[in-house]
Symmetry: C2
Subunit: 210 residues, 2 copies
DNA sequence: CTCATCCCGTACGTTGACGTATGGAAACGA
DNA sequence: TCGTTTCCATACGTCAACGTACGGGATGAG
Protein backbone atom coordinates (compact mmCIF):
# COMPACT_ATOMS: atom_id res chain seq x y z
CA UNK A 1 0.00 0.00 0.00
CA UNK A 2 1.35 3.41 -0.94
CA UNK A 3 -0.15 6.43 0.80
CA UNK A 4 3.28 8.05 0.81
CA UNK A 5 5.99 7.84 -1.80
CA UNK A 6 6.51 5.12 -4.34
CA UNK A 7 8.12 6.65 -7.38
CA UNK A 8 5.29 7.60 -9.74
CA UNK A 9 6.12 6.76 -13.38
CA UNK A 10 5.54 10.30 -14.49
CA UNK A 11 7.17 13.48 -13.22
CA UNK A 12 10.61 11.97 -12.90
CA UNK A 13 13.55 14.03 -11.83
CA UNK A 14 12.04 16.02 -8.97
CA UNK A 15 12.10 13.28 -6.36
CA UNK A 16 10.81 15.84 -3.89
CA UNK A 17 7.35 14.70 -4.99
CA UNK A 18 6.06 12.99 -1.92
CA UNK A 19 2.51 11.96 -2.67
CA UNK A 20 1.53 9.71 -5.53
CA UNK A 21 -0.17 11.37 -8.41
CA UNK A 22 -3.40 9.48 -8.05
CA UNK A 23 -3.56 10.18 -4.36
CA UNK A 24 -3.74 13.88 -5.06
CA UNK A 25 -6.34 13.28 -7.76
CA UNK A 26 -8.51 11.47 -5.27
CA UNK A 27 -8.01 14.27 -2.76
CA UNK A 28 -8.99 16.88 -5.32
CA UNK A 29 -12.10 14.95 -6.19
CA UNK A 30 -12.89 14.69 -2.51
CA UNK A 31 -12.63 18.47 -2.11
CA UNK A 32 -14.84 18.94 -5.14
CA UNK A 33 -17.46 16.66 -3.68
CA UNK A 34 -17.14 18.42 -0.34
CA UNK A 35 -17.79 21.83 -1.85
CA UNK A 36 -21.00 20.72 -3.49
CA UNK A 37 -22.40 17.91 -1.37
CA UNK A 38 -20.95 18.35 2.08
CA UNK A 39 -18.93 15.93 4.12
CA UNK A 40 -21.04 12.86 3.38
CA UNK A 41 -20.46 13.37 -0.30
CA UNK A 42 -16.92 12.29 0.42
CA UNK A 43 -17.86 8.65 -0.06
CA UNK A 44 -15.69 6.02 -1.63
CA UNK A 45 -18.07 4.41 -4.06
CA UNK A 46 -19.72 7.60 -5.34
CA UNK A 47 -16.32 9.19 -5.86
CA UNK A 48 -15.08 6.09 -7.64
CA UNK A 49 -18.07 6.17 -9.98
CA UNK A 50 -17.44 9.84 -10.56
CA UNK A 51 -13.86 9.08 -11.51
CA UNK A 52 -14.81 6.14 -13.67
CA UNK A 53 -13.20 3.48 -11.52
CA UNK A 54 -14.23 1.18 -8.70
CA UNK A 55 -13.47 0.79 -5.04
CA UNK A 56 -10.64 -1.54 -5.93
CA UNK A 57 -8.66 1.45 -7.11
CA UNK A 58 -9.39 3.52 -4.06
CA UNK A 59 -8.42 0.93 -1.50
CA UNK A 60 -5.12 0.46 -3.19
CA UNK A 61 -4.26 4.12 -2.73
CA UNK A 62 -5.88 4.63 0.64
CA UNK A 63 -6.39 2.41 3.64
CA UNK A 64 -9.77 3.95 4.47
CA UNK A 65 -12.19 6.75 3.78
CA UNK A 66 -10.78 8.62 6.76
CA UNK A 67 -7.36 8.61 5.17
CA UNK A 68 -8.82 10.24 2.08
CA UNK A 69 -10.40 12.89 4.25
CA UNK A 70 -7.10 13.57 5.97
CA UNK A 71 -5.35 13.88 2.65
CA UNK A 72 -8.03 16.21 1.30
CA UNK A 73 -7.81 18.37 4.39
CA UNK A 74 -4.05 18.51 4.11
CA UNK A 75 -4.39 19.61 0.50
CA UNK A 76 -6.98 22.21 1.38
CA UNK A 77 -4.92 23.67 4.20
CA UNK A 78 -1.92 23.88 1.92
CA UNK A 79 -3.95 25.63 -0.78
CA UNK A 80 -5.50 27.93 1.76
CA UNK A 81 -2.28 29.03 3.42
CA UNK A 82 -0.30 29.31 0.20
CA UNK A 83 -2.97 31.10 -1.80
CA UNK A 84 -3.61 33.46 1.06
CA UNK A 85 -0.02 34.65 0.95
CA UNK A 86 0.33 34.62 -2.82
CA UNK A 87 0.16 38.10 -4.26
CA UNK A 88 -0.05 39.62 -0.82
CA UNK A 89 3.40 39.27 0.67
CA UNK A 90 4.90 41.37 -2.08
CA UNK A 91 2.79 44.36 -1.15
CA UNK A 92 4.74 46.43 1.32
CA UNK A 93 2.10 49.03 2.10
CA UNK A 94 -0.20 47.56 4.76
CA UNK A 95 -3.24 49.32 3.36
CA UNK A 96 -2.71 47.89 -0.09
CA UNK A 97 -2.05 44.52 1.48
CA UNK A 98 -5.41 44.46 3.17
CA UNK A 99 -7.12 45.62 0.01
CA UNK A 100 -5.44 42.77 -1.82
CA UNK A 101 -6.61 40.31 0.79
CA UNK A 102 -10.19 41.50 0.46
CA UNK A 103 -10.18 41.36 -3.30
CA UNK A 104 -8.84 37.85 -3.16
CA UNK A 105 -11.39 36.75 -0.60
CA UNK A 106 -14.19 37.96 -2.82
CA UNK A 107 -12.77 36.63 -6.04
CA UNK A 108 -12.95 32.88 -5.55
CA UNK A 109 -16.52 31.79 -5.13
CA UNK A 110 -15.55 28.15 -5.22
CA UNK A 111 -13.04 28.52 -2.41
CA UNK A 112 -15.74 30.22 -0.38
CA UNK A 113 -18.10 27.34 -0.87
CA UNK A 114 -15.37 24.95 0.15
CA UNK A 115 -14.72 26.84 3.36
CA UNK A 116 -18.40 26.97 4.22
CA UNK A 117 -18.81 23.27 3.56
CA UNK A 118 -15.83 22.42 5.73
CA UNK A 119 -16.91 24.78 8.48
CA UNK A 120 -20.31 23.14 8.46
CA UNK A 121 -18.64 19.78 8.97
CA UNK A 122 -16.64 20.92 11.98
CA UNK A 123 -18.39 18.31 14.06
CA UNK A 124 -15.93 15.87 12.62
CA UNK A 125 -12.89 16.30 14.84
CA UNK A 126 -10.40 16.04 12.00
CA UNK A 127 -12.25 18.66 9.99
CA UNK A 128 -12.81 20.92 12.96
CA UNK A 129 -9.15 20.95 13.82
CA UNK A 130 -8.08 22.07 10.36
CA UNK A 131 -10.88 24.60 10.00
CA UNK A 132 -9.97 26.12 13.32
CA UNK A 133 -6.32 26.32 12.36
CA UNK A 134 -7.01 27.89 8.98
CA UNK A 135 -9.48 30.36 10.41
CA UNK A 136 -7.15 31.33 13.23
CA UNK A 137 -4.32 31.82 10.77
CA UNK A 138 -6.39 34.13 8.63
CA UNK A 139 -7.51 36.13 11.62
CA UNK A 140 -4.01 36.47 12.98
CA UNK A 141 -2.65 37.54 9.63
CA UNK A 142 -5.36 40.14 9.24
CA UNK A 143 -4.67 41.30 12.75
CA UNK A 144 -1.01 41.82 11.91
CA UNK A 145 -1.98 43.86 8.88
CA UNK A 146 -4.18 46.10 10.98
CA UNK A 147 -1.43 46.52 13.53
CA UNK A 148 0.87 47.54 10.72
CA UNK A 149 -1.61 50.30 10.00
CA UNK A 150 -0.85 51.73 13.39
CA UNK A 151 -3.82 50.45 15.32
CA UNK A 152 -3.49 49.41 18.94
CA UNK A 153 -3.56 45.78 19.92
CA UNK A 154 -7.21 45.87 20.92
CA UNK A 155 -8.35 47.98 17.98
CA UNK A 156 -6.52 45.74 15.56
CA UNK A 157 -8.16 42.68 17.04
CA UNK A 158 -11.61 44.20 16.86
CA UNK A 159 -11.24 45.58 13.36
CA UNK A 160 -9.68 42.43 11.96
CA UNK A 161 -12.43 40.31 13.47
CA UNK A 162 -14.98 42.73 12.08
CA UNK A 163 -13.53 42.63 8.61
CA UNK A 164 -13.07 38.88 8.59
CA UNK A 165 -16.60 38.25 9.79
CA UNK A 166 -17.94 40.54 7.10
CA UNK A 167 -16.26 38.69 4.30
CA UNK A 168 -17.15 35.30 5.64
CA UNK A 169 -20.70 36.54 5.90
CA UNK A 170 -20.55 37.79 2.34
CA UNK A 171 -19.76 34.32 1.13
CA UNK A 172 -22.63 32.99 3.17
CA UNK A 173 -25.15 35.55 1.91
CA UNK A 174 -23.90 35.16 -1.61
CA UNK A 175 -24.47 31.43 -1.43
CA UNK A 176 -27.77 31.46 0.43
CA UNK A 177 -29.53 34.22 -1.48
CA UNK A 178 -27.56 34.93 -4.65
CA UNK A 179 -30.27 37.05 -6.19
CA UNK A 180 -30.13 39.46 -3.24
CA UNK A 181 -26.41 39.92 -3.50
CA UNK A 182 -25.18 42.98 -5.41
CA UNK A 183 -23.61 42.33 -8.79
CA UNK A 184 -21.58 44.26 -11.36
CA UNK A 185 -21.88 47.95 -10.70
CA UNK A 186 -23.69 47.51 -7.42
CA UNK A 187 -21.06 45.07 -6.28
CA UNK A 188 -18.30 47.54 -7.06
CA UNK A 189 -20.09 50.16 -4.99
CA UNK A 190 -20.62 47.57 -2.27
CA UNK A 191 -16.98 46.60 -2.29
CA UNK A 192 -15.86 50.20 -2.18
CA UNK A 193 -18.19 50.89 0.71
CA UNK A 194 -16.84 47.98 2.70
CA UNK A 195 -13.29 48.97 1.99
CA UNK A 196 -13.84 52.56 3.03
CA UNK A 197 -15.66 51.42 6.13
CA UNK A 198 -13.50 48.53 7.25
CA UNK A 199 -9.97 49.64 6.60
CA UNK A 200 -8.95 53.05 7.93
CA UNK A 201 -6.78 55.02 5.56
CA UNK A 202 -3.21 55.56 6.78
CA UNK A 203 -3.87 59.23 7.40
CA UNK A 204 -7.49 58.80 8.41
CA UNK A 205 -9.09 59.19 11.83
CA UNK A 206 -8.32 56.63 14.49
CA UNK A 207 -11.23 55.88 16.75
CA UNK A 208 -10.58 54.58 20.19
CA UNK A 209 -13.37 54.31 22.71
CA UNK A 210 -16.35 56.60 22.81
CA UNK B 1 -51.98 8.32 10.39
CA UNK B 2 -52.21 11.77 11.88
CA UNK B 3 -49.78 14.40 10.56
CA UNK B 4 -52.44 17.03 10.97
CA UNK B 5 -55.10 17.38 13.63
CA UNK B 6 -56.55 14.68 15.80
CA UNK B 7 -57.57 16.20 19.06
CA UNK B 8 -54.59 15.83 21.43
CA UNK B 9 -55.72 14.74 24.92
CA UNK B 10 -54.10 17.78 26.52
CA UNK B 11 -54.68 21.43 25.69
CA UNK B 12 -58.36 21.04 24.99
CA UNK B 13 -60.50 23.99 24.15
CA UNK B 14 -58.31 25.82 21.67
CA UNK B 15 -59.10 23.66 18.70
CA UNK B 16 -56.98 26.03 16.63
CA UNK B 17 -54.09 23.70 17.50
CA UNK B 18 -53.30 22.13 14.18
CA UNK B 19 -50.32 19.89 14.78
CA UNK B 20 -50.33 17.04 17.23
CA UNK B 21 -48.27 17.51 20.34
CA UNK B 22 -45.88 14.72 19.59
CA UNK B 23 -45.38 15.90 16.06
CA UNK B 24 -43.98 19.15 17.34
CA UNK B 25 -41.80 17.30 19.83
CA UNK B 26 -40.30 15.28 17.00
CA UNK B 27 -39.78 18.43 14.99
CA UNK B 28 -38.03 20.12 17.90
CA UNK B 29 -35.78 17.13 18.34
CA UNK B 30 -35.05 17.21 14.64
CA UNK B 31 -34.01 20.86 14.85
CA UNK B 32 -31.85 20.06 17.83
CA UNK B 33 -30.10 17.30 15.94
CA UNK B 34 -29.74 19.58 12.93
CA UNK B 35 -28.01 22.27 14.96
CA UNK B 36 -25.40 19.89 16.28
CA UNK B 37 -25.00 17.16 13.69
CA UNK B 38 -26.16 18.63 10.42
CA UNK B 39 -28.82 17.39 8.08
CA UNK B 40 -27.88 13.70 8.25
CA UNK B 41 -28.32 13.79 11.98
CA UNK B 42 -32.02 14.10 11.23
CA UNK B 43 -32.35 10.33 11.08
CA UNK B 44 -35.32 8.38 12.30
CA UNK B 45 -33.68 5.68 14.36
CA UNK B 46 -31.06 7.88 16.07
CA UNK B 47 -33.74 10.43 16.95
CA UNK B 48 -35.96 7.68 18.27
CA UNK B 49 -33.16 6.37 20.47
CA UNK B 50 -32.52 9.91 21.64
CA UNK B 51 -36.16 10.25 22.60
CA UNK B 52 -36.30 6.87 24.27
CA UNK B 53 -38.69 5.27 21.78
CA UNK B 54 -38.42 3.24 18.60
CA UNK B 55 -39.20 3.71 14.94
CA UNK B 56 -42.67 2.38 15.57
CA UNK B 57 -43.55 5.63 17.27
CA UNK B 58 -42.12 7.78 14.55
CA UNK B 59 -43.88 6.10 11.68
CA UNK B 60 -47.17 6.51 13.40
CA UNK B 61 -46.75 10.29 13.54
CA UNK B 62 -44.97 10.75 10.20
CA UNK B 63 -45.21 8.99 6.87
CA UNK B 64 -41.50 9.41 6.18
CA UNK B 65 -38.27 11.10 7.20
CA UNK B 66 -38.90 13.77 4.60
CA UNK B 67 -42.16 14.68 6.29
CA UNK B 68 -40.29 15.20 9.53
CA UNK B 69 -37.86 17.46 7.76
CA UNK B 70 -40.70 19.48 6.27
CA UNK B 71 -42.30 19.83 9.68
CA UNK B 72 -39.03 20.87 11.28
CA UNK B 73 -38.44 23.45 8.57
CA UNK B 74 -41.93 24.80 9.01
CA UNK B 75 -41.32 25.13 12.73
CA UNK B 76 -37.97 26.81 12.18
CA UNK B 77 -39.36 29.31 9.72
CA UNK B 78 -42.16 30.16 12.11
CA UNK B 79 -39.72 30.66 14.97
CA UNK B 80 -37.41 32.68 12.80
CA UNK B 81 -40.03 35.05 11.44
CA UNK B 82 -41.88 35.46 14.72
CA UNK B 83 -38.82 35.89 16.90
CA UNK B 84 -37.35 38.32 14.43
CA UNK B 85 -40.32 40.62 14.86
CA UNK B 86 -40.77 40.12 18.59
CA UNK B 87 -39.46 43.04 20.56
CA UNK B 88 -38.65 44.94 17.40
CA UNK B 89 -41.97 46.03 15.99
CA UNK B 90 -42.72 48.04 19.09
CA UNK B 91 -39.69 50.24 18.57
CA UNK B 92 -40.74 53.22 16.54
CA UNK B 93 -37.36 54.84 16.12
CA UNK B 94 -35.63 53.14 13.18
CA UNK B 95 -32.21 53.51 14.74
CA UNK B 96 -33.30 51.80 17.93
CA UNK B 97 -35.04 49.18 15.86
CA UNK B 98 -31.84 48.24 14.08
CA UNK B 99 -29.93 48.21 17.34
CA UNK B 100 -32.53 45.86 18.72
CA UNK B 101 -32.21 43.60 15.72
CA UNK B 102 -28.45 43.43 16.11
CA UNK B 103 -28.61 42.68 19.80
CA UNK B 104 -31.06 39.92 19.13
CA UNK B 105 -28.97 38.45 16.37
CA UNK B 106 -25.98 38.25 18.65
CA UNK B 107 -27.84 36.97 21.66
CA UNK B 108 -28.92 33.51 20.56
CA UNK B 109 -25.92 31.36 19.84
CA UNK B 110 -28.08 28.32 19.38
CA UNK B 111 -30.24 29.98 16.75
CA UNK B 112 -27.08 30.97 14.94
CA UNK B 113 -25.85 27.41 14.87
CA UNK B 114 -29.19 26.30 13.54
CA UNK B 115 -29.10 28.79 10.73
CA UNK B 116 -25.57 27.80 9.77
CA UNK B 117 -26.46 24.13 9.81
CA UNK B 118 -29.49 24.70 7.63
CA UNK B 119 -27.62 26.95 5.27
CA UNK B 120 -24.98 24.28 4.91
CA UNK B 121 -27.68 21.82 3.92
CA UNK B 122 -29.09 24.05 1.19
CA UNK B 123 -28.27 21.36 -1.32
CA UNK B 124 -31.46 19.71 -0.22
CA UNK B 125 -34.13 21.50 -2.24
CA UNK B 126 -36.63 21.63 0.61
CA UNK B 127 -34.04 23.11 2.95
CA UNK B 128 -32.67 25.51 0.37
CA UNK B 129 -36.07 26.93 -0.35
CA UNK B 130 -36.78 27.76 3.28
CA UNK B 131 -33.31 29.09 3.94
CA UNK B 132 -33.56 31.35 0.94
CA UNK B 133 -36.95 32.62 2.04
CA UNK B 134 -35.84 33.30 5.60
CA UNK B 135 -32.65 34.97 4.52
CA UNK B 136 -34.42 37.12 1.97
CA UNK B 137 -36.99 38.14 4.56
CA UNK B 138 -34.31 39.23 6.97
CA UNK B 139 -32.51 41.20 4.32
CA UNK B 140 -35.64 42.93 3.15
CA UNK B 141 -36.63 43.83 6.67
CA UNK B 142 -33.21 45.24 7.40
CA UNK B 143 -33.38 47.12 4.14
CA UNK B 144 -36.65 48.71 5.16
CA UNK B 145 -35.12 49.77 8.45
CA UNK B 146 -32.24 51.45 6.68
CA UNK B 147 -34.59 53.17 4.31
CA UNK B 148 -36.49 54.46 7.32
CA UNK B 149 -33.24 56.04 8.42
CA UNK B 150 -33.38 58.19 5.34
CA UNK B 151 -30.95 56.30 3.12
CA UNK B 152 -31.51 56.06 -0.60
CA UNK B 153 -32.68 52.83 -2.17
CA UNK B 154 -29.19 51.83 -3.24
CA UNK B 155 -27.48 52.92 -0.05
CA UNK B 156 -30.03 51.06 2.03
CA UNK B 157 -29.49 47.92 0.02
CA UNK B 158 -25.73 48.12 0.34
CA UNK B 159 -25.72 48.95 4.03
CA UNK B 160 -28.28 46.34 4.95
CA UNK B 161 -26.40 43.67 3.02
CA UNK B 162 -23.21 44.83 4.71
CA UNK B 163 -24.71 44.66 8.16
CA UNK B 164 -26.41 41.34 7.58
CA UNK B 165 -23.28 39.75 6.19
CA UNK B 166 -21.32 40.96 9.17
CA UNK B 167 -23.61 39.37 11.69
CA UNK B 168 -23.87 36.15 9.78
CA UNK B 169 -20.10 36.14 9.64
CA UNK B 170 -19.93 36.76 13.36
CA UNK B 171 -21.90 33.62 13.99
CA UNK B 172 -19.59 31.74 11.68
CA UNK B 173 -16.39 33.04 13.28
CA UNK B 174 -17.81 32.54 16.72
CA UNK B 175 -18.55 28.92 15.89
CA UNK B 176 -15.38 28.11 13.99
CA UNK B 177 -12.84 29.75 16.28
CA UNK B 178 -14.55 30.56 19.57
CA UNK B 179 -11.32 31.37 21.37
CA UNK B 180 -10.53 34.10 18.85
CA UNK B 181 -13.90 35.77 19.28
CA UNK B 182 -14.04 38.70 21.72
CA UNK B 183 -15.87 38.08 24.98
CA UNK B 184 -17.17 40.14 27.88
CA UNK B 185 -15.62 43.57 27.85
CA UNK B 186 -13.96 43.07 24.48
CA UNK B 187 -17.24 41.92 23.02
CA UNK B 188 -19.01 45.01 24.27
CA UNK B 189 -16.37 47.16 22.62
CA UNK B 190 -16.66 45.03 19.48
CA UNK B 191 -20.41 45.38 19.46
CA UNK B 192 -20.23 49.10 19.97
CA UNK B 193 -17.72 49.42 17.17
CA UNK B 194 -19.94 47.49 14.78
CA UNK B 195 -22.95 49.54 15.74
CA UNK B 196 -21.16 52.83 15.27
CA UNK B 197 -19.77 51.64 11.96
CA UNK B 198 -22.75 49.90 10.47
CA UNK B 199 -25.71 52.03 11.41
CA UNK B 200 -25.44 55.75 10.66
CA UNK B 201 -26.87 57.94 13.36
CA UNK B 202 -30.00 59.85 12.31
CA UNK B 203 -28.06 63.11 12.29
CA UNK B 204 -24.80 61.62 11.10
CA UNK B 205 -23.07 62.00 7.74
CA UNK B 206 -24.57 60.34 4.71
CA UNK B 207 -22.02 59.01 2.28
CA UNK B 208 -22.94 58.58 -1.30
CA UNK B 209 -20.36 57.75 -3.93
CA UNK B 210 -16.76 58.84 -3.78
C1' DC C 1 10.46 -15.34 -22.04
C1' DT C 2 9.54 -15.18 -17.21
C1' DC C 3 8.24 -13.11 -13.31
C1' DA C 4 7.24 -9.79 -9.94
C1' DT C 5 5.10 -5.52 -8.96
C1' DC C 6 1.63 -2.08 -9.99
C1' DC C 7 -3.07 -0.89 -10.48
C1' DC C 8 -7.68 -2.01 -10.72
C1' DG C 9 -12.12 -5.02 -11.12
C1' DT C 10 -15.28 -8.41 -8.85
C1' DA C 11 -17.42 -10.75 -5.26
C1' DC C 12 -18.46 -11.06 -0.55
C1' DG C 13 -19.60 -10.00 4.38
C1' DT C 14 -21.06 -6.27 7.54
C1' DT C 15 -23.33 -2.25 9.25
C1' DG C 16 -26.75 1.42 9.75
C1' DA C 17 -30.71 3.56 8.33
C1' DC C 18 -35.32 3.54 5.72
C1' DG C 19 -39.77 1.82 5.43
C1' DT C 20 -43.56 -1.95 6.31
C1' DA C 21 -46.23 -5.28 8.76
C1' DT C 22 -48.12 -6.72 12.66
C1' DG C 23 -48.98 -7.38 17.51
C1' DG C 24 -50.02 -5.47 21.88
C1' DA C 25 -50.81 -2.48 25.90
C1' DA C 26 -53.31 1.39 27.72
C1' DA C 27 -57.01 4.68 27.64
C1' DC C 28 -61.61 5.76 26.60
C1' DG C 29 -66.58 5.55 25.44
C1' DA C 30 -70.88 2.92 25.43
C1' DT D 1 -67.41 -5.09 30.77
C1' DC D 2 -66.31 -4.90 25.97
C1' DG D 3 -64.64 -3.05 21.90
C1' DT D 4 -62.34 0.69 19.61
C1' DT D 5 -58.92 3.95 19.12
C1' DT D 6 -54.34 5.57 20.24
C1' DC D 7 -49.58 4.99 20.51
C1' DC D 8 -45.58 2.23 20.50
C1' DA D 9 -42.48 -2.27 20.14
C1' DT D 10 -40.77 -6.04 17.39
C1' DA D 11 -39.46 -8.30 13.37
C1' DC D 12 -38.53 -8.23 8.67
C1' DG D 13 -36.93 -6.86 3.94
C1' DT D 14 -34.23 -3.47 1.28
C1' DC D 15 -30.50 -0.50 0.10
C1' DA D 16 -26.22 1.98 0.06
C1' DA D 17 -21.81 2.42 1.62
C1' DC D 18 -17.56 0.51 4.16
C1' DG D 19 -13.96 -2.64 4.13
C1' DT D 20 -11.70 -7.27 2.65
C1' DA D 21 -10.28 -11.01 -0.31
C1' DC D 22 -8.88 -12.34 -4.38
C1' DG D 23 -8.00 -12.43 -9.22
C1' DG D 24 -6.19 -10.58 -13.43
C1' DG D 25 -4.24 -7.62 -16.96
C1' DA D 26 -0.40 -4.54 -17.93
C1' DT D 27 4.33 -3.20 -17.56
C1' DG D 28 9.14 -3.25 -16.83
C1' DA D 29 13.47 -5.93 -15.23
C1' DG D 30 16.34 -9.84 -15.69
Amino acid sequence: MPMSNQKPPGARGSDAVKSSLSVEAWAEAALDALATGGLDAVAVEPLARRLGVTKGSFYWHFPSREALLREALKLWERHETIDARAGVEEMTDPYERIVRLFKQANSSYKAGRLYLALAAASDDPAVGEVVKRVSANRLNYLNQCYRALGLSELDARLWSTFAYATFIGNQQVHRDTPEQFPVDEDFRAYFKLMLKTLVPRPGGPVDGEA
